[in-house]
């Protein structure tokens, strides 16, 4: 019996029970479509988070004073003053793995321009900060080494700050804003970056020389943090080790002492986020996979009914010369046909659904070709797996009994 005839027979059998075939297929359609959609959502979220992290600077390293704990005891605020300017200087002087290093001190307060005001944070940094955080100056210019040395009252502002303070559309460069009563002259405006993955507005920033913030705003001599940027993402770990070494030496820590600073890298964050998203994807896909499994059981169920219903037909076919393998292939092809057709429709539905979510709900969606191949492959295997047993049962029928089956 050749394959063309087998397909004809299977198609005819399905055509004889259109509604039943369709309902069985529906299980597979829903299963495959949901696997594809769920994977697309999972992969889309992962991809969007990854791109946002890399926008924030994926090789960024953040150094903060004070370990979270020391010997199991949460440290007091005084322990948080461990980072000094000398630490920053030494890192800059000795580094081999950092492309840029910037001290950070920041202060929150009300920013006022004319009749407008808004709450904001002013970040005391150096010029390297732009490179570390992937900012760029759109209008005007960044403050200089000279400004840092003289603790000049100048600042560079983000787009959100401009939008909220300069409501009548005037050019902010050269204007003076006041932060906690201290006047700052705007010398530059940053290019907009939008929101990051944590929902923070990256344009709601005011950058000023760190010396200005230390002396004129906070009146402190220590640093609240140091931000650095490894020369490449792959060198993040070496960069962290290097900083650790310098800081431990500077802080005269003994071998058995814990670090009195904390170093976090974006890579760490990025891998944490990625693994979270992977987990989410697996979770979504397995829920969808269960529906595919249920669809497969539907096929098995209906094939059983079909075999029982067509016992006489099987008996007849056998008595006129069908071998066991002919009967087996006939029913197997029928179930594969159901699952493959269902799978194809499911792929189309899944892609349409993913696109609807993308354009309708504005959700990040990423359809990977492997997710389509995977779900389609799984569904074909489902057809074979769940069709096998009923088909085997049909092939093993005794023609003498089958032909007289009532």
């Amino acid at each position: 019996m050749n394959i063309t005839n087998l397909f004809k027979i299977a198609l005819k059998a399905l055509a004889n029970n259109k509604m039943r075939g369709f309902l069985t297929m529906l299980g597979i359609i829903i299963g495959v479509a949901s696997v594809i959609t769920m994977l697309a959502i999972g992969q889309g979220s992962k991809k969007s988070i990854q791109s946002q992290i890399s926008e924030m600077g994926s090789n960024m390293i953040m150094i903060q004073p004070g370990a979270d704990m020391r010997g199991g005891v949460r440290q007091s605020a005084s322990a948080m003053e461990t980072l000094k300017l000398i630490d920053y200087r030494n890192i800059v002087d000795e580094t081999r793995f950092q492309a840029a290093v910037s001290p950070t001190v920041n202060s929150s307060g009300q920013v006022i321009y004319g009749a407008n005001n808004k709450p904001g944070t002013i970040y005391g940094v150096n010029q390297d900060y732009l490179e570390i955080r992937r900012y760029s100056v759109n209008d005007g210019s960044m403050f200089t080494e000279q400004d840092i040395a003289s603790a000049a009252k100048v600042c560079v502002v983000g787009k959100t700050v401009v939008d909220e303070l300069f409501t009548n559309g005037e050019n902010p460069v050269g204007k003076v804003i006041r932060f906690n009563k201290i006047p700052f002259t705007i010398i530059g405006v940053l290019t907009g970056k939008g929101y990051n993955s944590m929902g923070m507005d990256q344009d709601d920033v005011i950058l000023a020389p760190f010396t200005t913030i230390q002396k004129r705003v906070l009146a402190i001599t220590h640093l609240q943090g140091i931000n650095a940027s490894a020369i490449k993402e792959e060198y993040t770990q070496q960069a962290i080790d290097e900083i650790t070494e310098i800081l431990r030496r500077n802080h005269k820590l003994k071998a058995e002492d814990d670090d009195d600073f904390t170093i976090r890298s974006m890579e760490e964050l990025s891998s944490m986020m990625t693994s979270t998203m992977n987990l989410l994807t697996i979770l979504l896909a397995s829920v969808a996979g269960i529906s595919l499994l249920v669809g497969g059981i539907g096929i098995m169920n209906i094939m059983y009914v079909s075999v029982t219903e067509r016992t006489r037909e099987i008996g007849l076919r056998m008595s006129i010369g069908a071998r066991g393998i002919d009967i087996l292939s006939q029913f197997l092809i029928e179930s594969i046909l159901i699952s493959v057709t269902g799978g194809l429709i499911g792929v189309v539905f899944g892609v349409i659904m993913a696109l609807l979510i993308k354009f309708g709900a504005n959700f990040p969606i990423y359809i990977q070709s492997w997710s389509i191949i995977l779900s389609f492959g799984v569904c074909t295997l489902t057809g074979i797996f769940f069709g096998w047993y009923p088909a085997k049962k049909a092939a093993q029928l005794d023609p003498i009994e089958a032909i007289r089956f009532e």
Partner: protein
């Protein structure tokens, strides 16, 4: 005459629980080409078992069965399936046509399992076969659009399509009224006249009047094997039936 069927000391035992049922005990006979044999017996006589054996659906416990010269007893399942496909035409009591399927497609069925026959040849043979049973005008009728007599004709056409060595009919008139039964017997007699070998298994002794030879089974043994010298014509029998006016 060429010998189509030879049974040598055929025995068939069934195990029912602890008991052994001897369905056939030492059955021996042979059938030559062109014979129209009725095998008769009451239920329990072993005629179904004999039919299954002759049809290569079942294998005997003892003895040997030669179909067209081929020993069947030691054959495997698949080999027997192929042998059935090439050598035997089955006609069943309840027709066993595929539902919602046209006459041609039903008749084509045995040839589908013969890779040597191409699709166009298959259709051609099916049409010829249907014409031979007088259904040339019902080629594309579906099985549910036909009467019992017509369905049995399609079944006979299906049995003829592979040009079998022997046609095995199992109570082929059992589901039909008298008039239609005679129609079918006329067809069988015509096939017989064309030189076909036919074995008709039945419990209805009337059928034996129309065949050339009768074998009577009782308790798994042959109790009579007679040649019918005076074959009754089914055409005459039909003509003598009182005309129904209702």
């Amino acid at each position: 005459m060429k010998e189509i069927i030879r049974l040598e000391h055929i025995g068939r035992d069934f195990h029912v629980g602890d008991e052994v049922v001897h369905a056939l005990r030492d059955v021996s006979f042979s059938i030559s080409e062109g014979e129209f044999v009725t095998i008769m017996g009451t239920s329990g006589s072993g005629k179904s078992t004999l039919l299954n054996t002759l049809g290569c659906l079942d294998t005997p416990t003892r003895g040997e069965y030669y179909l067209d010269g081929t020993p069947v007893r030691t054959m495997g399942k698949n080999a027997r399936a192929t042998l059935r496909n090439r050598k035997i035409g089955f006609v069943f009591q309840s027709y066993n046509l595929l539902p919602k399927t046209t006459a041609i497609e039903n008749v084509e069925l045995p040839l589908i399992y013969n890779p040597a026959v191409s699709a166009p040849a298959r259709k051609q043979k099916a049409i010829e076969s249907l014409k031979a049973v007088g259904l040339g005008d019902r080629l594309n009728h579906k099985s549910n659009q036909m009467s019992g007599g017509q369905m049995q004709r399609v079944a006979i056409a299906r049995a003829l399509v592979n040009d079998p060595a022997v046609i095995l009919a199992d109570e082929a008139t059992g589901n039909l009224d008298t008039r239609t039964s005679y129609d079918i017997l006329i067809l069988f007699q015509r096939l017989h006249a064309q030189g076909r070998t036919i074995i008709f298994v039945t419990h209805n002794s009337d059928i034996s009047l129309f065949s050339s030879r009768n074998i009577l089974l009782k308790d798994g043994r042959i109790v009579a094997d007679t040649t019918n010298e005076n074959i009754r014509s089914a055409t005459d029998a039909l003509a003598k039936l009182p005309v129904e006016n209702d």
